[in-house]
Amino acid sequence: MSQKDLMKDWFKELPSEQPSPDFKVKVMQRVMSEWTLNPVKYQPIISRKGWWTIALIAMLMTSILLMVHSSLPVGTDSMSTAKTFYGLDLAKLFLPVSHLFEKLNSISPAVAIGVLAILALWFFDQLFVKTVKR
């Protein structure tokens, strides 16, 4: 048997050192207190700033489309003559937008008021939470 194996065997015979029975509990208590001090924060994929940028771009695009739409001559014939705007097929672009506005027009005032009320409540809730946090 080699020298290392001999020494290894002797060391393996030594009684193992055992920590106190509550060692694990003590460690986990400290880990949990560390965690409460520095919890892992939820990181959204799209940040708040990102959402605002997307909303702003969407609003700008809609406004531009509406402006372009209103500057075009009225009537189906004139639409057919001026279908393109800087190479863009406007008829295709306006179709979903006009559908959206048609849908919005068809919403009853009661539903619209309901939605507005919910949005207002959400806004005030956010405002309240922010004020409390400060």
Binding site: Q3, W10, E13, E17, K24, M28, V31, M32, E34
Partner: protein, 191 residues
């Protein structure tokens, strides 16, 4: 139940499940305490150092590189924490003294230890180990008891591989030298 890897639990902890850390504590508390104990030789200090090492590991899990195993990485923390504690406890300088024991004396000591019954052998080796410097004890324990390779010990202790080899060889010789003194009466009686 399927045994999950250390890496699995680390991923879970990094995702926010701190409870998964208890699995790592369960797995390594005994080894961590045992290494700390070898260095510090005092139960309370060893427990405190092992606990501190776990907390340090928990706080730095984000910087853990899977290029080395968690076990090696964690034992480096345990080793450094215990050595720091030892240095603050008493202003000691870890030194390696010259070992004066001939090859024939080593052989005779090994033969004598081999002839002892297990209980006596355990007692004498324990006494011999206690006569060594804490760093020497830790190196021998990691190599002979915990089965760490020389490369792993080099990572844990941040000593160069050649330095680890030299120190383990010297610590082993020193242990046998101390055992020679302890066993003096036994050798005389056998001779």
């Amino acid at each position: 139940m399927e045994k999950k890897t250390d890496e699995y639990y680390i991923r879970e902890i990094l995702k926010g499940d701190s409870g998964s850390f208890s699995q790592l504590v369960e797995r390594y508390s005994h080894l961590a305490f045992s290494l700390s104990m070898k260095i510090l030789n005092q139960r309370e200090d060893a427990e405190e150092a092992a606990q501190d090492a776990f907390i340090k590991a928990y706080n730095s899990l984000g910087s853990f590189q899977s290029s080395s195993t968690f076990k090696t990485w964690f034992f480096r923390i345990v080793y450094n924490t215990s050595i720091s504690k030892l240095r603050t406890r008493k202003n000691i300088e870890v030194k390696f003294e010259d070992v004066k024991i001939s090859d024939s004396e080593i052989q005779a000591t090994e033969n004598t230890i081999g002839q002892l019954n297990t209980e006596d052998r355990q007692r004498y080796i324990q006494i011999g180990l206690e006569r060594l410097e804490p760093e020497e004890q830790a190196l021998l324990k990691m190599y002979y008891y915990d089965d760490f390779s020389m490369d792993e010990i080099s990572i844990i202790t941040t000593l160069s591989l050649s330095n680890v080899k030299v120190k383990i060889h010297r610590s082993r010789k020193k242990l046998l030298q101390e055992l020679k003194f302890v066993l003096k009466d036994e050798i005389i009686s056998i001779l």
